[in-house]
């Protein structure tokens, strides 16, 4: 895995021009995440409707290209997903980043999986896995209404 793979178009594109980098109006769930080793910060906002669908998701934050790209791609994918699907996607993504060669979920398209797979380049850089997973752990906290800031030093 070399530079071209890690910093391929998708990551650079999303890292430089993150999607959904704003604050959802009338959000009803949110959570903050912090990676103290790198200084990456992310605040996820969710609007969940009465059918338990994510009607809007956004984030504010700052950090390296990988952390920003990960939050950007993730928020794009989670829109209109059901709570249950979100849980499955997060688990599948974290598994892919840590050990499995690919994602197993059928919830998203192959094309969407390829986008997420572009983040798997961090496997070669153990110190940077936390950059890629921060937004995903923070999303879980938001779904669970956790008031405590997600801190990358407290998981895995």
């Amino acid at each position: 895995m070399d530079l071209k793979d890690l910093y391929q178009e998708i990551i650079l594109d999303h890292g430089k021009n993150p999607r959904n980098l704003r604050k959802t109006e009338n959000f009803n769930k949110d959570a903050k995440g912090h990676n103290p080793l790198c200084g990456d910060k992310v605040h996820i906002f969710l609007k969940i409707d009465e059918n338990k669908n994510i009607s809007d998701i956004s984030f504010e934050g700052s950090g390296c290209a990988i952390s920003m790209a990960s939050a950007s791609i993730m928020t794009d994918l989670m829109k209109e997903k059901k709570e249950k699907e979100v849980k499955e996607l997060v688990e599948d993504f974290l598994k892919m980043i840590k050990e499995s060669p690919e994602m197993k979920t059928k919830i998203i398209s192959e094309n969407e999986k390829t986008k997420l797979m572009s983040l798997s380049g961090v496997k070669q850089y153990p110190m940077r896995v936390k950059c890629a997973t921060l937004a995903w752990h923070t999303l879980t906290s938001a779904m669970n209404n956790s008031k405590e800031e997600t801190n990358t030093e407290k998981f895995d």
Partner: protein, 405 residues
């Protein structure tokens, strides 16, 4: 030994990194090891190994002599008055913990103050932090100026009648500022305050003379001095080592052990409990030899010229912002690039074989003060050349190009 040819002494440079020559610019983190140090570890384990200070057989006696010989070499290297003022530890971190713990136990009371600076590495803050909870002491931080320096005025302003210890870095691992430690020591002593110097960045690069500086404690990291990991040195004036209680208990540091009580051994054994990092200590003797063969004055001159060259090159590069601008600067070049996170810089530079550090460099207090979450840092060692700094600059330009696309 010719300083311009020194890379040849370091076997690591025979290896390629991502098919490129290694440009190692992370010596403030840890230095590479010369062949003579690597060989000494191998030789000791293959031909001479024994534990030290206990058994009386041939190997034990020989190993003990070698071990103690490094203590004397170190005493001479930093011009300490007495070899017993050299205590081997597992690192500079343990050296500072040793002082904070034992000095805190014996001398600190609720409301007493410890003075640090905003430049301190976490290893010269966290050990003192424990005393907040344990003893109710207060920690103050002398502030940096706009150039990222700590002046004697800043220290003087922060001293109060309750200041019981001053603990400061010799050389900042982020801004590169070299502190006027001799003047600060004399100021501290004029107010009867002992002073500890965190010499992690000072010892590998600057000439040291403990009797001239007159500090009470000086902590050294051996792996930053071309020596093995797992080893540090605490220099402490004998009067302190005689007065302070032992740090860790165990074998080797005792005189007599009875059910009803224990008496402790003499210096330096009092502070060296358990089996020490024997091979590392003996190999560190070779690091001192290596430094002496080149001459610390030559190292200072070489690194100072390189630092100036590096600053020049990076200043000409419009995208680079150097962090700190101290007048008296060590061989540390911390910088930021507009719109590119330090970790992205480091990962892209790594592809070219350029090894730098990115992050807060264990100085979160300083980064908060500077309003930066992370910086990139190129730091130099005796083996670096102008060519290394040119390659750094080229690689930075490549990084800009990738992000500007």
């Amino acid at each position: 030994m010719n300083i311009n040819n020194i890379k040849k002494q370091f076997p690591i440079f025979n290896n390629k990194v991502h098919n490129n020559d290694l440009v190692y610019l992370d010596s403030a983190n840890s230095s590479q090891k010369p062949q003579m140090v690597v060989d000494r570890i191998y030789d000791f384990y293959t031909k001479e190994f024994s534990n030290v200070g206990r058994s009386v057989h041939y190997l034990a006696v020989a190993a003990t002599n070698l071990y103690e010989n490094t203590r004397i070499m170190m005493q001479k290297y930093i011009n300490a008055k007495d070899p017993n003022e050299i205590v081997f530890t597992k690192g500079a971190t343990e050296a500072i913990n040793l002082v904070a713990n034992t000095f805190g136990q014996k001398f600190l009371r609720e409301g007493d103050e410890i003075l640090l600076t905003e430049l301190e590495h976490h290893s010269n803050y966290v050990p003192w932090h424990y005393l907040r909870k344990l003893k109710g002491v207060k920690i103050n931080f002398a502030e940096i100026n706009n150039d990222g320096e700590i002046t004697i005025e800043s220290i003087e302003k922060s001293i109060t009648p309750k200041t019981k210890m001053i603990a400061i870095t010799h050389l900042s691992n982020v801004t590169g500022a070299i502190l006027p430690i001799k003047e600060i020591t004399s100021l501290a002593h004029s107010k009867n305050i002992p002073i500890l110097i965190d010499g992690c960045q000072g010892a590998p690069h600057l000439k040291l003379d403990m009797q001239d500086i007159d500090c009470d404690f000086y902590a050294i990291s051996c792996h930053k001095m071309y020596g093995p990991t797992g080893l540090g040195v605490l220099y402490a004036k004998k009067k302190w080592l005689d007065t302070l209680p032992p740090y860790q208990g165990g074998g080797g540091m005792i005189r007599e052990v009875k059910k009803e009580g224990i008496s402790f051994g003499d210096l330096p054994n009092k502070y060296e409990a358990g089996t020490m990092a024997t091979a590392q200590v003996i190999a560190f003797g070779e690091s001192i030899k290596f430094l002496n063969q080149i001459g610390i004055e030559n190292i200072e001159k070489h690194e100072s010229e390189l630092t100036k060259y590096g600053e020049e090159v990076l200043r000409k590069n419009n995208s680079v912002k150097l962090v700190g601008n101290p007048k008296n600067k060590g061989s540390v070049l911390s910088f930021t690039l507009d719109g590119i996170h330090a970790h992205d810089i480091a990962t892209i530079l790594d592809e070219d074989g350029v090894a730098i550090r990115a992050g807060h460099h264990c100085c979160q207090i300083l980064h908060d003060k500077l309003g930066l979450s992370a910086t990139a840092r190129a730091s130099l060692g005796v083996y670096n050349t102008k060519d290394d700094l040119d390659k750094l600059n080229e690689s930075i330009n490549k990084c800009k190009k990738i992000f500007d696309r």
